[in-house]
């Protein structure tokens, strides 16, 4: 982790990201899908602008957040849905 990076937690796993990175982008940069679909498929953000909800995850305990529209903050906890 460089001086400029912060730590967020995705399903308990700590990852280092630059402050201001969108949560969806941070997850994808670390090879994690954003969510698992109804039939069990890994999914990632499609539209990048808050329309498609493929990036939805629970952030700090609140479900159904559009992670492409949320900037990472230190200590943020993300749980994939």
């Amino acid at each position: 982790m460089t001086e400029q990076e912060i730590v967020i937690y995705v399903d308990g796993r700590a990852i280092a990201v630059r402050p201001g990175t969108a949560v969806a982008a941070a997850m994808l940069a670390h090879g994690m899908p954003n969510r698992i679909s109804r039939s069990g498929q890994p999914r990632a953000a499609l539209c990048g602008m808050g329309i498609c909800y493929e990036c939805r995850a629970a952030v700090n305990g609140v479900a159904h957040q559009r992670t492409c529209m949320l900037a990472c903050t230190p200590g943020m906890e993300i749980a994939t849905q």
């Binding site: 630059r18 969108a22 969806a24 890994p42 990632a44 539209c47 990048g48 159904h64 492409c68 529209m69």
Partner: protein, 466 residues
């Protein structure tokens, strides 16, 4: 500094304004700036964290390329205009003189009373299903650019850009300059279809320079026309894409596919308010045209009094058209609310009149450009035939092509399969099924965005006026 008064009662904030603008992209910012200059109290609502919309999205976290000078100018001017921006806020419901929204950041509901409203809700990409399109690594064209601007590293990424529309070139240009390894740019429209369109680009020096710029930066990545994707391949993530030109097929190894089939206007709020839609091309049927747009006059007046619309929801026509339309709609909305923008302190009335006359004249040129754009990038028939029976069409609810293709319409699809009932509220599968099956879009009903029950319960008196 605006003097909009807001009161807070529990989780509900009530506020009033003269001109309410929905959307802080180029059109919305121009409308707000113009209305505020006349002395009107202006409130702008946008669901993003800051102004700029999609085209002027803020680049963050060390992403390549800061915003253009034109973007910075527009945003600075808006910030200094006196209009108030209510960011990270989603519209839930609206009616005559009132609108409710949910502030996602603060977690409270907002009830706004307005005299005039300007809808500058922009556009979104059209997505069409094909085998493998749900794999991680398959993004929209604008989608990958937006994610890159939000901090997704693209340096060295093997990307294929495909689909349709001028956005492909802009995205390819951005990715190239950010250090991506572009494996090709594929436009589904044939060269013959696109050639008449180049005449419009040639006639406009600004667009010509822009096009030349894209051409130069993407010179090595081989733009090809008349090609479209037939399948995306990979186990857990995208590994390759198969393209076709109608005769041959070939497969390209890649880590990302940036694929969008041009744009569709965001007309949900306009429809909820009762505005009429129309098609730009008389040959297209209103029911089956995903680019059906809000009907407006030169000043942006819709068929509903007090409701104005500017920019892409009135027809996909690009940045210049959006700024001009926003300026006119802002002026007209302020006038409707009782504020004369020709007597603002900035310009003498005759100068203002000439400015508006010039903008109104430009509207004709923009309309012609919008029609040419639509014709050039019309979707070829083969794009409706890409799905295999197991190809997912509704991504929210995992509904396949086989479950949908024999149904009669979107309503039956909702009842039988839940297609369209997911969080995207049909914004992705709606235009797709419209293109695939000719289904008329379902009626628009509140809430316009998924919201917690607490947000909806907070505003009972607003719904009583329905």
């Amino acid at each position: 500094m605006s003097d909009i008064k807001a009161t807070r009662d529990g989780t509900l904030q009530t506020t009033a304004c003269d001109v309410l603008v929905i959307g802080a992209g180029p059109a919305g910012m121009c409308a707000a700036t113009e209305a505020a200059a006349s002395g009107a109290r202006v409130l702008v609502i946008d669901e993003n964290a800051g102004a700029g919309g999609q085209i002027w999205r803020e680049t963050r976290a060390g992403a390549a390329h800061a915003r253009s000078a034109r973007a910075r100018f527009g945003i600075r001017r808006f910030a200094a205009s006196g209009a108030r921006l209510q960011a990270q806020t989603r519209v839930l419901d609206a009616g005559d003189g009132w609108l409710t929204a949910w502030d996602e950041a603060a977690g409270g509901s907002i009830l706004v009373r307005y005299r005039a409203i300007v809808l500058a809700t922009g556009a979104r990409e059209l997505f069409l299903p094909f085998p493998g399109w749900t794999l991680p690594g398959v993004y929209g064209a604008g989608g990958l650019q937006a994610l890159a601007k939000s901090g997704l590293p693209v340096k060295g990424l093997r990307v294929v850009v495909a689909g349709s529309g001028p956005l492909l070139l802009a995205v390819a240009d951005y990715l190239q300059r950010a250090g991506a390894n572009l494996q090709g740019v594929f436009e589904q429209a044939s060269l013959r279809r696109m050639l008449p369109f180049t005449r419009h680009v040639m006639a406009d020096p600004g667009k010509l320079l822009q096009g030349a710029g894209y051409g130069w930066s993407t010179r090595r990545s081989r733009l090809r026309t008349g090609c479209w994707p037939v399948a995306a391949h990979g186990a857990e993530v995208l590994e390759a894409v198969t393209m076709t030109d109608g005769k041959r097929r070939w497969t390209i190894a890649c880590n990302a596919l940036a694929c969008g089939f041009h744009l569709v206007p965001n007309t949900e709020l306009a429809r909820l308010l009762g505005c009429d839609l129309h098609t730009l091309d008389a040959a297209r049927a209103l029911q089956t045209d995903p680019q059906a747009c809000v009907e407006v006059d030169g000043w942006g007046r819709t068929t509903v009094e007090g409701v104005f619309c500017a920019g892409e929801p009135t027809g996909i026509a690009g940045l210049d058209a959006a700024e001009a339309a926003g300026t006119l709609a802002g002026s007209a909305a302020a006038a409707y609310a009782g504020f004369d923008s020709t007597s603002s302190t900035n310009t003498a009335p005759p100068v203002a009149q000439r400015r508006y006359a010039r903008l109104l004249k430009q509207q004709e040129r923009h309309k012609t450009f919008a029609r040419a754009l639509q014709r050039a990038f019309a979707l070829r028939v083969e794009l409706r035939q890409l799905c295999a029976p197991e190809t997912i069409v509704c991504r929210c609810e995992d509904v396949t092509f086989a479950e949908l293709h024999s149904l009669r319409g979107s309503r039956e699809a909702k009842l039988q399969t839940r297609c369209g009932m997911g969080p995207c509220q049909g914004r992705v599968c709606g235009p797709a099924t419209q293109v695939l099956f000719g289904w008329r879009p379902g009626s628009v009903r509140p809430p316009l965005a998924p919201a917690p029950v607490s947000a909806l319960l907070a505003v009972p008196e607003a719904t009583a006026s329905r």
